[in-house]
């Protein structure tokens, strides 16, 4: 093999990779926040006694989980403008990530909510609390703690899925890599470096999740 490794080209473009890494973090965090919001609101509707509230959530979850993310993001980017909704790549990417992650989050969080004993809920009602308070103050935190490992690994998935947003030229790491690669033809060096950066991104995320867990879910278990 007489291929000469040369990371010089990659180093030269390091600032670009750094900024793109921040772009990836930005998409990931915004997507997660939206996914969490959709997840929580979705679970409220999904577990309500009202069939009219439940049905659309079930349909939403099934549609999103049974179609490819790439198609979803294209749908939002190319189909919505026909309905008069025009979004830039960043907004499109965040919405697509939020919707996709949200559908999974609904199912995960629902498992957590169902793990909370009926007794907890009844104790809340017996004290005179209303349904919304019972959910928000009594059910939510123990439910999130119960499913925290699955929810956070779903969020790591979401973070890595930001790379698919390359397809609509969103500002993130894989787009930058493609750009640098086509300028320099240093495919191996570029993707080797980017692989390393993704590993760092995932590790940072896991570190953040661990900190959040220590801060919010540190009460002793039964």
């Amino acid at each position: 093999m007489n291929y000469k490794f040369d990371f010089g080209a990659v180093f030269e473009r390091a600032p670009e990779l750094l900024w793109a890494t921040l772009g990836t973090f930005g998409l990931a965090f915004a997507g997660m926040a939206l996914a969490l919001l959709i997840g929580i609101l979705g679970v409220i509707a999904r577990t309500s006694h009202n069939k009219i509230a439940r049905a659309p959530v079930i349909a939403f979850v099934e549609i999103v989980r049974n179609t490819p993310f790439l198609v979803q993001i294209f749908y939002i980017y190319f189909a919505l403008p026909l309905m008069g909704i025009r979004l830039n790549p960043t907004a499109t990417a965040i919405i697509a990530l939020g919707i996709n992650g949200g559908a999974y989050a609904i199912e995960i969080i629902r498992g957590g909510v169902e793990s909370i004993s009926k007794g907890q809920v009844e104790a809340g009602y017996a004290l005179g609390l209303h349904k919304a308070d019972v959910f928000r103050l009594i059910v939510l935190k123990p439910a999130l703690r119960a499913i925290y490992p699955s929810l956070t690994s779903q969020f790591i998935m979401l973070t890595l899925t930001t790379s698919v947003c390359t397809s609509i030229a969103a500002y993130e790491l894989t787009s930058a890599a493609q750009r640098i690669e086509s300028d320099t033809f240093r495919s191996f060096e570029v993707y080797f470096s980017v692989t390393g950066i993704y590993l760092v991104i995932s590790s940072v995320m896991m570190g953040i999740f661990a900190l959040i867990s220590r801060r919010y879910f540190s009460y002793p278990a039964r």
Partner: protein
């Protein structure tokens, strides 16, 4: 027994209360009236409807016929009536049901703040007062999982008391406890009774019934079979089912 004319001192009144689960008739024409300050012990075999009965009083279960009135407020199915009644009725469960993510103090302060709109400072003052009352103030900053069963149940009692209810419902409060912890919870309940709290207790602790009950009510198959003062109830039960039940209970204890 049926008390159509509610006199001044009647706190709770059930008339012809009916509850079905599908085809299963869980409560059959229950008539019960409880005076202010009265202590009632409810007993009966498993599945006889004791829990269902007391859970109807604070609207954790709905009834299909008859009426329930608490402090003059008729449970008419409106959420306003449910709110009004739950403010006056405290409940203690077999499984404690403390909120695991809140400290003992937070468990107690939550409802006064959210339901009565009490400020945090006042709610915590109230919480300390009732934790002191059940002699567990020293554990105020701990989490439920760090307490023994008996301690948890005393916290659950304090938590209910923080809403300053007019009546307390107990659903087998000592059945989930190790034997050595039963006494501390019963002692707390006895002292509550001494202070004049109106209480309805589902329990098979017959010593407790003898000591504090004004009336013992025996239920079977969704019906009130017999009720009497403890002296009479234990010494000369009238019905065959009561005798059989008492025989079984006393053999166990």
């Amino acid at each position: 027994m049926a008390n159509s004319v509610i006199d001044q001192s009647t706190l709770i009144s059930l008339e012809k209360v009916e509850r079905w689960y599908g085809a299963f008739h869980a409560l059959k024409a229950i008539d019960l009236s409880v005076r202010k300050g009265e202590k009632i012990v409810l007993c009966g075999p498993s599945g006889s409807g004791k829990s269902t009965l007391i859970r109807c009083i604070n609207a954790l279960e709905t009834i299909q016929d008859g009426s329930i009135t608490v402090e003059g407020q008729l449970l008419d199915g409106s959420s306003k009536a449910v709110d009004a009644i739950r403010r006056e009725v405290g409940m203690v469960f077999q499984s404690f049901n403390l909120f695991p993510h809140m400290t003992v103090l937070q468990n107690c302060a939550l409802a006064p703040m959210r339901v009565r709109g009490t400020s945090r400072a006042d709610a915590e003052k109230l919480a300390r007062k009732y934790l002191e009352r059940v002699r567990i103030l020293d554990q105020a900053e701990k989490y439920p999982a760090q307490l023994s069963g008996g301690q948890q149940q005393r916290v659950a009692i304090a938590r209910a008391l923080c809403m300053e209810p007019k009546v307390m419902l107990f659903d087998e409060p000592t059945s989930a406890l190790d034997p050595e912890m039963v006494k501390e919870v019963l002692d707390t309940m006895i002292s509550l009774a001494r202070d004049g709290m109106t209480m309805i207790c589902v329990t098979h602790e017959m010593g407790f019934a003898r000591q504090v009950a004004d009336r013992v009510i025996f239920m079977a198959s969704g019906e009130i079979i017999e009720e009497a003062e403890p002296e009479i109830f234990f010494k000369s039960p009238k019905h065959e089912r009561t005798k059989t039940f008492l025989g079984e209970i006393l053999a166990h204890h």
